[in-house]
Symmetry: C2
DNA sequence: AGCCTAATTGAAAATGAATTTCAATTTCCT
DNA sequence: AGGAAATTGAAATTCATTTTCAATTAGGCT
């Protein structure tokens, strides 16, 4: 999990934009900006990965000892509602969150041995999905696609 | 849930073939054929739907009052291992099972309002998925794809 | 700056699906 | 039929998720 480390100024700018978006969302809904929400959003946006509430909580606990699991859990739900995160459930049944940008529609390759999750995006597949939905007169809102198997590292040992 | 009702002789034949396949699997593994397993497999294969263990248990309870939930649960796991069922988790986090034929690779359209699940199959998408896997030197075993949105009935009321 | 109300926090409890335990029962091999 | 091994089902357990509730905090309003 990539929590900290060097970051380009572009990445930092994006994160700050997202944090502003969260603040607007809170103001709009009459909710409050708190230190906890700020810390959790920052750490979450920095990970860029598919974290569970538990994982993010443990990571945050290393730096802050006064932020509880429940708050991390609730803040992730909040980020989801505000459009900054998506909630996903893979085959292990755990709820994972990942930062979401408006125009990003990626899918996942999931290694059944080491559990690594690799993202990919394929516009042709997207278009075919839209066509399928049309065919069934279905109004598509979102989709998910996962390919399960063995990653490059694990397939040799399997 | 389509549990009973008129069935073509072709459907009946297919179900019987699958039940034979289960028996071979049990024999092969040194496991036992029991009345419960037979009833559960029959009812499950007849549904042809995406049932949870709970749903199938309730359905079976209408006819049989001596088959427990645990046995239904365990038999579904067994059917999964024997290749007669697949286990799937959709966005509601529940584990669902559906009868599986060797050459059937379908995906799902899931209505976010009424919860209806429609199957579809698209060979072009399949091929593109394989191509993506190759690109990442990933050995693909299975995939799942779900399109979430509103079905024909629900989209008008939404 | 202080007040006040509503929102937030976090520990603990509750929920609920999935899984395991265990004693009684059943299968099926010999 | 006899016996070892597998199966069953009720109940207990596990574990992630969600809710509860009393104490705390944010931020609009004087």
């Amino acid at each position: 999990m990539k929590i900290s480390g060097a970051r380009t100024s572009k990445e930092i700018k994006l994160i700050n934009e997202k944090k502003e978006k969260l603040k607007s969302f809170l103001r709009e809904k009459g909710l409050k900006s708190t230190r906890q929400r700020d810390v959790i959003a920052s750490e979450f946006l920095k990970t860029g990965e598919h974290v569970t509430a538990e994982e993010l909580y443990r990571e945050i606990s290393k730096k802050y000892n006064d932020i509880g699991f429940t708050t991390v859990y609730r803040t992730l739900k909040l980020l989801n509602k505000s459009g900054l995160a998506t909630e996903r459930v893979f085959a292990d049944h755990l709820t994972r969150y990942e930062p979401l940008s408006a125009d990003d529609h990626h899918d996942h390759l999931i290694c059944m041995k080491c559990g690594s999750i690799t993202e990919f995006e394929d516009l042709k597949i997207e278009r075919l999905q839209e066509r399928v939905a049309e065919e069934f007169s279905f109004l598509s809102v979102s989709h998910k696609m996962e390919i399960y198997g063995y990653c490059n590292k694990c397939k040799d040992n399997a």
